[in-house]
């Protein structure tokens, strides 16, 4: 039984979150000769393979609200979102110098092109653009994806100088299955008793999972749940909202806090989908690469970065979340200039409108400072929900 308090855990996570030198990951690497760290960007990479190669997957989610971007603007025009420029800033200021390789998932053209910038600027680093199928049939997209995963595994083997066996992979899959179960428990707990698990805390807990080794992160979530359960916190008369559109560049922590302070309990979100990308467990039987591929094809999260084959199913995942979490409404919070999120939004909105589910839309940058308008907007939204709910 954990003896750590919620406050202690939250402070620990906050320190990890604020530490743009990624000291925890550096310490992990330094603890044993030959260890390697692979950075990855949103929205999803199979961390199991990195882990099985004996490496630490490190989630890079931009520079956040407080980092001053000095050089980054010379790399990106003003009409491109902020995450690539702050990520470049992290790299050219040496904060990623210990990172041995970077993975850029196929989420949008900005991240895609960032993979090329990395190749141009950091020629000695391993760079992998991680392509995923938009065709979800086993014999078509599945074959392509399994081969991509094998290529990834081989690349990491070359980098680490060790062979990754099926047993290594299955072991890593099991660890990440366990981790995801606890992530889901945290989300379920927050949804059931949102006053006991404020969203800023849950957010920080999930962010810690971007830096810590998976085993440690799982223990941390266990500790948190035990501590949060035991903590006596007052229940407020807030409405319940799901956040959609924040799957890549992250909103400032203050934005998350502001929403809650304005009267909105966040009962679901898409902040760090990599933590919850696979729904359920990945099979630990049979060929592990095939299992990862199948899990991607048939049981992965929906988001704007994925093609929805069936128009009638478009947006159904959001409606399911609303049902499951008993959400009163949705806040579409997207980074400015984010094509995937902003182009997807009208389609999702139409599904909500058809069901008369209230929503609001807002845009942010990771360094947005002014929270007053957000608080006012969210406060009005919460009030109107309560009013309708009472009617």
């Amino acid at each position: 039984m954990s003896t750590k308090s919620v406050k202690e855990i939250a402070t620990y996570c906050q320190e990890i979150f604020e530490d743009l030198d990624f000291s925890k990951a550096r310490e992990w690497k330094a603890a044993q000769a030959g260890r390697k760290v692979i950075g990855f960007m949103p929205v999803y990479v199979p961390r199991e393979i990195i882990h099985a190669a004996g490496m630490l997957p490190l989630g890079i989610l931009g520079g956040g609200a407080d980092m001053e971007v000095i050089h980054g603007d010379a790399y990106y025009q003003s009409y491109i979102c902020r995450i690539p420029r702050s990520t470049i800033e992290l790299a050219i200021t040496g904060r990623l110098d210990f990172v041995d390789g970077m993975m850029f998932p196929s989420i949008c053209d900005v991240i895609r092109n960032l993979s090329g910038i990395w190749k141009l600027l950091f020629k000695d680093k391993y760079v992998r653009y991680f392509d995923a199928p938009q065709n979800f049939k086993d014999n078509i997209g599945g074959v392509f994806y399994a081969n991509e995963l094998r290529e990834l595994k081989e690349g990491l083997e070359r980098l680490s100088g060790r062979t990754v066996s099926d047993a290594d992979l299955s072991n890593s899959i099991a660890l990440y299955n366990e981790n995801r179960r606890w992530v889901n428990k945290v989300y379920d707990f927050r949804s059931a008793t949102p006053w006991k698990a404020p969203s800023a805390e849950v957010y920080l807990l999930m962010r810690a999972g971007m830096v810590l080794p998976v085993e440690e992160h799982t223990l941390l979530m266990q500790d948190y749940l035990a501590a949060a359960e035991a903590e006596n916190r007052p229940m407020r008369d807030n409405c319940r909202v799901a956040i959609s559109g924040s799957f890549c560049e992250q909103p400032p922590l203050n934005l998350i806090k502001s929403l809650e302070m304005a009267g909105c309990y966040i009962v679901d979100d898409d902040f760090m989908l990599v933590n919850r990308w696979i729904k359920g467990d990945v099979s630990t039987d049979g060929d592990p690469i095939e299992s990862l591929a199948k899990a991607f094809l048939h049981q992965s999260a929906e988001t704007a970065a994925k093609y929805e084959v069936d128009m009638n199913v478009k947006g159904a995942y959001l409606l399911d979340i609303i049902d499951k979490r008993k959400a009163d409404g949705v806040i579409f919070a997207a980074p400015s200039f984010c094509d995937p999120a902003l182009l997807d939004q009208p389609m999702l909105v139409s599904r909500l409108e058809a069901r008369k589910i209230p929503y609001i839309t807002m845009q942010y940058a990771e360094n947005s400072g002014q929270m007053q308008p957000i608080r006012e907007q969210a406060g009005t939204f919460a009030d109107s929900i309560k009013l309708w709910g009472a009617a």
């Binding site: 010379a74 053209d109 141009l120 093609y307 182009l343």
Partner: protein
């Protein structure tokens, strides 16, 4: 100068007729119609099913050049689309809201199929999901993996071929009621390759001094037939033959590049341009170049529908599906940044250009994200100065003529200085 005074060559008139015929065909109600995208489009395959090829990007360009796109974009924004996203998408959606009228004045029919060739741009995916909401028609996707390491892999090629065999072709068969005939495809591909040979010949003529053509502003016209609904047809072969004859004649006469105001009297600056042009002020934009004596000798935009000169790609009738895969994989925006840099640097060297000008498009992440780094890399590789301007494709709100002109003027001055510095260094 009024539109009537625009100097047009025979090939331009022929192309105009070709485009008009295609719009008449699309709006005739007599053929099945597919909407699809320019980069890596499957025109030869669509022709195997007698399906007409309607390209929303081209419609957006047409509307922009007719000064109609601004209102369409605002219409889309009024209906809930963000100011921040690709304006091609909004111009298309706004066009629908305004009655979906084709350039020939007739309404576009609803497409029978959306062929989502997801090549070189992520936005395509969302664009056709949005159109599907409207048209509720069958949608078939061809995912073309990004050639992130510079060269396509066997896995990528196999994946495309499999999608063609198991997804695209069966869907097109069903929609058209026509059985796929691989020999018919081979025949079209054979014709594509003939036209492509002439096309590459044309591209390479701007190595000459003076260049007989402008390979950006003029280039977008020259690329028209091969990038749109004509690749694989006899018409395209004829068009490029005619164009070749015209250029040969220009070379014989020693003429500088042709512009809407006639032939450039003198060629002072030779540029390579990266990025699409602005369409809402296309003529005004072009004029800023030719009035200063600047000719574009090579541009990446003329590779957006397919790259033929860099590594010698031609459609290969002997391997029909594989060649379609290679074609899609090789389009400019599907190539990684180091390759794009190499292509531009090679162009500067081989075409003896004075430098690289980037026209960065506000709403196009596929092209624009990373261009500042590309410019610096190309400068490093070639020792030639680069310049950066910012406009938009079809949103008139983002074309500031004064800014662009200022920027261009200082760029030309910079080139002059460099030249002077170069010649005094030689003299010393």
């Amino acid at each position: 100068m009024s539109n009537h005074d625009v100097v047009k060559s025979n090939s331009q008139n022929v192309q105009k007729e070709m485009i008009a015929r295609n719009y008449d065909k699309i709006t005739s109600g007599k053929v099945k119609v597919s909407s699809t995208f320019v980069p890596g489009n499957l025109n030869e395959l669509l022709m195997c099913f007698d399906i007409a090829n309607n390209l929303p990007e081209i419609n957006a360009i047409q509307n922009a050049m007719r000064k109609k796109s601004g209102e369409m974009i605002m219409e889309a924004e009024r209906s809930g689309h963000s100011e921040d996203v690709c304006t091609y998408v909004k111009a298309d959606i706004g066009m629908m809201a305004k009655g979906n009228i084709a350039p020939n004045g007739k309404p576009f029919p609803d497409p029978d199929v959306l062929l989502l060739s997801y090549t070189g741009c992520f936005t395509f995916l969302k664009w056709f999901e949005l159109l599907r909401e409207q048209y509720k028609c069958p949608t078939v996707m061809l995912q073309v993996p990004y050639a992130a390491d510079g060269a396509p892999t066997k896995n990528m090629r196999d994946y495309i071929v499999k999608q063609l065999k198991e997804e695209v072709i069966p869907t097109l068969e069903k929609i058209s009621g026509i059985k796929f005939d691989i020999d018919r495809l081979r025949e079209y591909l054979r014709k594509s390759a003939i036209a492509e040979d002439d096309l590459v010949w044309m591209l390479e003529q701007s190595k000459r001094k003076p260049s007989p053509i402008d390979c950006y502003f003029g280039g977008v016209y020259y690329m028209g037939p091969i990038f749109t609904a004509f690749r694989g047809t006899d018409e395209a072969i004829e068009y490029y033959k005619l164009l070749r004859g015209e250029i040969e004649e220009r070379i014989r006469l020693g003429l500088c590049a042709q512009t809407p105001d006639g032939d450039m009297p003198e060629e002072k600056y030779r540029l390579v341009v990266e990025g699409p042009p602005n369409w809402t002020s296309f003529r005004e934009f072009w004029k800023m170049f030719y009035e200063a004596g600047a000719v574009v000798v090579a541009s990446s935009y003329t590779k957006v529908g397919g790259v033929y000169d860099y590594d010698g790609f031609r459609h290969d009738p002997e391997h029909p599906l594989e060649t379609l895969a290679d074609y899609c994989l090789g389009v400019y925006t599907n190539r990684n940044l180091p390759t794009r840099v190499d292509m531009l640097a090679r162009n500067i060297r081989e075409y003896e250009a004075d430098g690289l000008l980037i026209n960065s498009i506000k709403s196009c992440n596929s092209f624009s994200a990373g261009q500042l780094v590309m410019m610096r890399e190309v400068e490093k590789l070639t020792g030639k100065p680069g310049a950066f301007i910012e406009t938009d494709l079809v949103d008139p709100r983002y074309f500031s003529a004064a800014n662009v002109k200022n920027r261009l003027e200082s760029y030309f001055q910079m080139i002059d200085q460099k030249r002077r510095a170069g010649s005094s260094a030689i003299a010393a």
